[in-house]
Symmetry: C2
Amino acid sequence: MYKVKVGKKILSANEEYAALNSQFLTEHKKLCLNMISSPGSGKTAILARTITELKGKIRIGVIEGDIQTEIDAERIRAAGAAAVQINTDGACHLSALQVNSALKKLPVEELDLIFIENVGNLVCPSTFELGETAKVAVLSVPEGDDKPAKYPAIFARAKALLINKVDLLEAVDFDIERAKADVMKLNRDIKIFPVSAKTGQGFGDWCNWLLELTGK
Amino acid sequence: MYKVKVGKKILSANEEYAALNSQFLTEHKKLCLNMISSPGSGKTAILARTITELKGKIRIGVIEGDIQTEIDAERIRAAGAAAVQINTDGACHLSALQVNSALKKLPVEELDLIFIENVGNLVCPSTFELGETAKVAVLSVPEGDDKPAKYPAIFARAKALLINKVDLLEAVDFDIERAKADVMKLNRDIKIFPVSAKTGQGFGDWCNWLLELTGK
């Protein structure tokens, strides 16, 4: 019996498009952050405030992923940034092919930083590479401090975590130190930013981190 | 050219197990509700309070679905009900086979009502039948009133919707009438219960509905 050794990893179609996207971003020297969280944790509100706070400093574009509706892209455009909406029509995560098409519709040359807002889902998007520079997780206070232990995949893979809606800390039972400790157990190098997209609390540190990342 | 007509639908493995579960529940005259929502909307807190409020009236058992940890089953047992924990080990929804195994571990004969708490995910669990009597959706107020429009599948399929965390209505921007109207557009027959698992608000109507369903 002959054994055939395959030396090169066979890539899935998604991985192939992710590699193309990564190459495109590297060639154009653009940073791209893939935002992942549960539905309603405040990804769009965070992006809208980030765009406002960094106006004149970083030029931001957004790829919006949703199952249905153009609601989120409209909120981003109202905040003053270019946005391309992808509707997945039922699918639970964005694919690298969808991001590949969306990148062609953004004025990439005019941008410093591209955010991808993935479909609201704490599970599936964490295992589909889009070719992004890094993943950013969002966890909102009303979701509960047990989520890093219960849904570890995204917290283990993200470069940064925004703990959003800290303005609700007194109204709900959320131990921020427990959440941080559970995340650090999964990922020692993660940057954690407690923020409120509603009040602006914590956005100084988050925006400084983005300025640093983009070399601005 | 011959055409072959296949009169019988070919079932997937999941559908076959779902059919078995449905048959088992019908034969044993047991009601089974499949609870579906985003992570952190309060499914476990709702179940714990429901068990407490219906103590002595309805005997409840729970199948707990989580990616990792036994946290939720422990909370249910502390509330005084039988619970079987399923860990999906990364999978984004429960399968009918997992529910089939869990049903065998519950003292079904001693129960009137079985809840399945699905993995926290507003997307994937809505399209995987488990053989349940009906689906129940949960949407929590901090997630935002745009969720029925953005994630329509579960709201179109559920027999009931709990709008949880109404104690936070004043702290967040959530238009309960907009959410209800969007849900009714998808599903005219759905029962909607605004509740707070924290304060107990609205649990009278929800528990009466469960008493009616179980014929108690």
